[in-house]
């Protein structure tokens, strides 16, 4: 147990970090922006945000010496949140540009199926498929903010916590052990987005994510409302 979560947010040159930092601080985390492996040693949780394409993102992570530390972090079952591209990078590879990505979760990043508009930009409904404490207090079907053209296709359907529909359905929340990924931008999704981040931070503080450090109990909502 720890009183406050120390969250390392990975900076690999992809745009706006002000929003994610401030959103995490708003829900009670201490945030450090890290650009190299030395910065993550003292953190309780790792957040990889980002938008854009996989190949340049992987090249920048590689150049900053972060690929192996991120893989090791996730494989050790430590709390991890991937946002948008940060979710997509968890899988084996991306159809967007053929890049090989982190490969810590089985599956690929694939094009959205029959999208009426592309990119998929705007608020869309997140529909629950399984209970998970990351969505505690977020109404089923709540609107969150998306900006993307590709989505993940996990090999294990049991990891899909919620789906969203734009043309076809795609996973908008996934979770496996202490790794959580969201396709929407919780830092840009108003109160429900902040709630998702608050749930993550609470799970870090309470060791509530399965296979998190010292976690032996199944996940339970730490702040059901």
């Amino acid at each position: 147990m720890t009183d406050r979560a120390r969250v390392a947010v990975v900076d690999y040159g992809a745009g706006n970090l002000v929003s994610i930092r401030r959103a995490l601080e708003t829900v009670g985390a201490d945030v450090e922006i890290v650009a190299g492996s030395e910065g993550i040693a003292t953190a309780n949780a790792l957040v990889v945000p980002g938008v854009g394409a996989a190949a340049p993102a992987m090249a920048r992570l590689e150049g900053q010496g972060l690929v192996e530390p991120i893989r090791a972090w996730i494989e050790a079952g430590r709390p991890f949140l991937g946002i948008c591209l940060g979710l997509q990078l968890l899988y084996d590879g991306s159809d967007e540009d053929g890049a090989a990505t982190l490969g810590v979760l089985a599956g690929r990043t694939v094009a959205l199926e029959d999208p009426p508009t592309l990119p998929h930009i705007g608020w869309n409904q997140v529909e629950r498929r399984r209970d998970h404490p990351i969505l505690a207090g977020v109404p089923d079907g709540a609107d969150l903010y998306f900006v993307h053209s590709y989505a993940v296709a996990p090999a294990d359907p049991e990891t899909v916590i919620a789906e969203t529909t734009h043309g076809g359905p795609f996973p908008s929340v996934v979770a496996h052990r202490a790794t959580v990924g969201v396709q929407f931008h919780p830092e840009r999704s108003g109160v429900d987005g902040l709630r998702v981040l608050a749930n993550f931070v609470d799970l870090v503080v309470s060791d509530g994510l399965p296979a998190g450090r010292g976690a032996e109990q199944p996940a339970t909502a730490s702040r059901a409302s």
Binding site: N16, V18, G122, W123, G193
Partner: protein, 259 residues
């Protein structure tokens, strides 16, 4: 289902919100960060800041405004006005914007759209097109420098090129309607939305809630932007969304007020 967005636009000069029919008779209307927070609380789905500061050396003021806004407002923020390079776009994004609008600079240097999209992803690149109807009825012409200069370029052709170059969204403003409150140019919107797959944001001419519905139903827009009717409290965001919902359009129910 993807919601149709309502987007208030704030004209910002020297770090302050100004109003007046665009670019003339400017009146100081307060702090952009405060007004942005008010709009977010009222249910705005996104915000646009249009920087109309004339002098490039005052860009630092804009970046400060963007950063103060991004610290407290947790909905997407697009910043347009005066961005002419990848480096300038990077500065605006790092200050806390999610998207950058390119207008005059993209017309002068279309490859700027491609360079910005390659660096930051197309989702961060909004190409803003100001258009006016040709007097002979032959479509619409792109105008630049805040609507002052004609270019002879066909607006629909430019929209298609901009998307091919890497625009992730198009913000389409009818200069003929801008500031008139006489409704959006739905023919212009439809001509463009039929030709591109990216979301089209309608701008220029919002007078009342029915105009927002028409921009979407008749114009094929995915989102609708307005300035003066919100600033002057002629219509509330909630009122506009209620009209959209009544017309069967999917809108986001704001939960901000309950937070």
């Amino acid at each position: 289902m993807l919601r149709r967005r309502v987007i208030p636009c704030l004209d910002v000069a020297d770090g302050r919100v100004v109003k007046g029919t665009r670019f003339v008779d400017l009146v100081d209307e307060g702090d952009p960060a405060e007004l942005a927070a008010r709009y977010a609380a009222e249910g705005a789905d996104e915000l646009v800041f249009l920087d109309i500061t004339a002098a490039p050396e005052r860009r630092a003021t804009l970046l400060d405004v963007v950063e103060r806004t991004a610290r407290n407002v947790f909905i997407p923020l697009t910043v347009g006005g005066g961005v002419r390079s990848v480096d300038e776009m990077r500065a605006v994004l790092r200050a806390g914007a999610d998207k950058v609008g390119l207008n005059t600079a993209a017309v002068a240097d279309p490859d700027l759209v491609a360079r910005c999209a390659a660096r930051f992803g197309r989702q961060a690149v909004v190409v803003s097109i100001d258009a006016r109807a040709r007097p002979d009825g032959g479509g619409w012409e792109v105008v630049v420098r805040g609507g002052r200069d004609g270019t002879g370029i066909d607006a629909v052709a430019w929209a298609v090129s901009a998307v091919e170059l890497g625009a992730g969204e198009l913000l389409v403003t009818s200069i003929d309607r801008d500031g008139t409150r006489s409704g959006f140019d739905t023919d212009l919107l439809r001509a463009i939305s039929d030709r591109v797959q990216v979301p089209v944001i309608a701008s220029g001419g919002a007078g009342g809630p029915a105009d927002f519905v028409a921009a979407i139903v008749d114009g094929g827009a995915d989102a609708v932007l307005a300035a003066s009717i919100f600033h002057r409290r002629i219509h509330a965001i909630g009122e506009v969304k209620a009209a959209m919902a009544a017309a069967g359009l999917p809108v986001r129910a704001s939960r901000e007020a309950a937070a």
